[in-house]
Amino acid sequence: MKLIYTDCLVVGAGLAGLRVAIAAKERGHDTLVLSLIPAKRSHSAAAQGGMQASLGNTVKGLGDNEDVHFQDTVKGSDWGCDQTVARMFAHCAPKAVRELANWGVPWTRVTKGPREVVVNAERITIEEAEAAHGLINARDFGGTKKWRTCYTADGTGHSLLYAVDNKAISLGIPVHERVEALSIIHDGERCHGVVARCLITGELRAYIGKSTTIATGGYGRIYEVSTNAIICEGIGQALALETGVATLGNMEAVQFHPTAIVPVGILTTEGCRGDGGLLRDKDGYRFMPDYEPEKKELASRDVVSRRMTEHMRKGKGVDSPYGPHLWLDITLLGRKHIETNLREVKEICENFLGIDPAKDWIPVRPTQHYSMGGIRTTPTGESPQLKGLFAVGEAACWDMHGFNRLGGNSLAETVVGGMIIGKYVADFCDDNDLVLDTGLAKRYVDKVRAEIDGLIEGSGTENSWELKSAMQRVMMDYVGIFRNGPELDEAVKQLKALLARSVNLGVSCKKRHANPELVEALRVRRMLKVALTVACGAAARTESRGAHAREDFPQRNDKDWLCRTLASWPDANALEPTLGYEPLDVMQMELPPGYRGYGADNAIAHPDTAKREAEIAELLAALGPNASREAIQQALMPFELPESLRPANERLADRLNGLVNTDTTGSPSTPNIAGDDNS
């Protein structure tokens, strides 16, 4: 048995995993990263539009701060998120953006003076301040009160991933490429590492670490059509599930992005709409203002995706051999804007559709995009059940997204979450010893070896690709944008049947080294378990919240469902997960559940909401009218952060105010110059 040990083991070399590795390495810990592919090929590279951080440099972002970002995030989550985590996140996002600038990201910068932008289909001129010249720019995104999404044209993920991977290379952090983790080594209480297989030689290795961090991204590929890279198969979540101990959180929360191209499902960024692009139906009619008069195309993603689907169900979709679609019109932005700020979109249109988006409309429809669910963690990123097992980024349910993620908050989560959780991982490595139980490691290696032997030497006849595509169709047909009881029950029934069949998997290619069929066979059974956690969680949750929209239960039901779904798989031979729930405590919330701002307010209130609102009013009254926003926030909901991340974020307005107003009473709060809306 090949055994490799380190202090900080990270599985997954996208932005979140690399950022954790950097944090641990900077603290002097031996750090090792495993990756299916070269780090720079990770799905993080595909993020186009940008990363939210309340810098407030542009005129449309003036008045932005952690409070506004926090509120947008909580409302975006449909009150499903962990508000403490949302606070930690909003506080550190500006720091992460600035750190990335120091690591080489060429953020698009503000140019002083007037510039033309398209807002609500009209060309208007905004005037950027002289003092903002050269500072980091931001664009508009859905569900945000301010223009807050920092970007590099529409290749933000690419720029960030390259800068962060370069930083990791400069620190000498090794990445074992083309290695796939297949099992978590644990003793029921503490995680000790993973069993992984080299995809080139087929060698099985035990990687032992003080800490193990899963950063393997989302599970979009359990769906037939997804914007995700083809490696986003949920294997990290499956590994946690297969421990039988660790829990997954909110797996039924799956986001559909409104504008993926038809038929292949490749994403066109939300930046298209943020920059002024419109959605049109088969008659060329702009329909979003009819449904969402206030936010229009820039309502949050779950809302826009549902409105598009509703509109297509009314027969307003454009017919195509691949089913109906709608149009994304960015022609009004002009060629120059498209060729500079939306050039990836332009390339995708040219290469996959043969169209010129400066002249032609883009065929789009809502497509699976993001996994809000994942490995359940505490605010420090650790599994509550398995000590030493951390999860970060899309792989995790750290839970700042709740039931719907805002655009620009996922790229931000990778580096901000990695920055924060990386410090807690380093703390863990400081405080704990490596446990090198070779007998334990061998048991897990032997188990994976037996699984491989069974596939290669056994008499199984089921084909992995057939099972996988059957699973993907079930998820697409029955666990999609709109859900209902009978369909979800059908999904669970069919997925269970597929999982039962997967016991009888076989491969026709008998190689033990590089063997794509074997790789597929090892994944599909694990993916089926992940799919079942999504379908069972969705069937059990009889309400609508964020991206989880039940036609038979259209109300958000805070009374019965203000809770996080937990899924575990204690019996390895069972055909479905065990579900449990943890309540979200309204009395601990800084922002108790309220109206989200879309459609009719039909939520069923939680009994504690009114109580908490009264308590907050009392606290505010006690603080008096001159309390700083920091003091108010502390009084309502204190939160912890590693010490080095606690300092306040400076903003341009602070400096300008400082110049104008030199007395010392000035709190860092700033006047809301840009107003409180998107107009």
Binding site: K40, V110, V264
Partner: protein, 242 residues
């Protein structure tokens, strides 16, 4: 909808199998509308030969995993439409210049990581007093835009495999290495001088080894201005000698 029958000639070789010999194998497949080489290869693997090795990750022209030689030209397979080939005959070879993993799969990752370590391809900040809690240092908006232009490289390896100098001299850094040096040379936040870069690429392995055959520029899937950058670096390097 019934499409025409495509013929694929695919290079097959498993270097880990001592008994295996490199060969070309012919496959046939019905074309569907909008079919890319990505879609075709996956269909072939699922329906005809499960041992076929190739690499895809994003399948959207973003990650650079799937570069291979298609009918003689190195390019990204994910965004190559089969409709582009009127005869319906498509020959697929692995990228030359990289370690072969098997069939169409090559180890570009290992090459790029070694290159980054050798050329120190990361930002070397001028100051060490960068405070992430304070307002960031301003940067000229045009400089930022230019940097982004040069940073669009996806490390697909096409420029390396299309480079005759690289075929003759294994230690040549290729257009990808020089593009990255140019990107950091341009970055006002980087503390390195032209002299520092001279030590890295002011030789036959770098700017003075290039034969200006333009294979890099002609084939780059991101249309990066390789020749302009190499010429710029040459002028810079020459100026350090004065």
């Amino acid at each position: 909808m019934s499409g025409r029958i495509l013929t694929f000639n695919i290079f097959r070789y498993d270097p880990q199998d001592a008994a295996d010999k490199p060969k070309m194998v012919k496959y046939q497949l019905e074309e569907t509308s909008g079919m890319t080489v990505f879609i075709a290869l996956n269909k072939l693997r699922q329906e005809q030969d499960p041992s076929l090795q190739f690499d895809f990750v994003c399948r959207a022209g973003i990650c650079g995993s799937c570069a291979m030689v298609i009918n003689g030209f190195p390019t990204l397979a994910c965004r190559t439409l089969t409709a582009k080939y009127p005869k319906g005959e498509i020959t697929l070879m692995p990228l030359p210049g990289f370690e072969l993993i098997g069939d169409l799969s090559v180890n570009t990752g290992k090459f790029m990581r070694e290159l980054a370590e050798r050329l120190k391809l990361w930002l070397h900040p001028k100051g060490d007093d960068l405070n992430i809690h304070r307002l960031e240092d301003p940067m000229d908006p045009e400089e930022a835009a230019k940097l982004y232009e040069l940073e669009r490289c996806v490390e697909c390896g096409v420029c390396v495999s299309a480079c005759a100098t690289k075929q003759m001299r294994d230690t040549f850094v290729g257009a990808v290495g020089m593009m990255k040096i140019a990107r950091f040379e341009l970055d006002s936040r980087d503390g390195r001088s032209a002299d520092d870069f001279y030590h890295v690429i002011g030789n036959q392995d770098g700017v003075f080894g290039c034969m200006t055959l333009l294979g890099c520029q002609d084939n780059c899937p991101k249309d990066l201005p390789h020749m302009q950058q190499i010429a710029y670096l040459r002028r810079k390097m020459a100026s350090t000698l004065l």
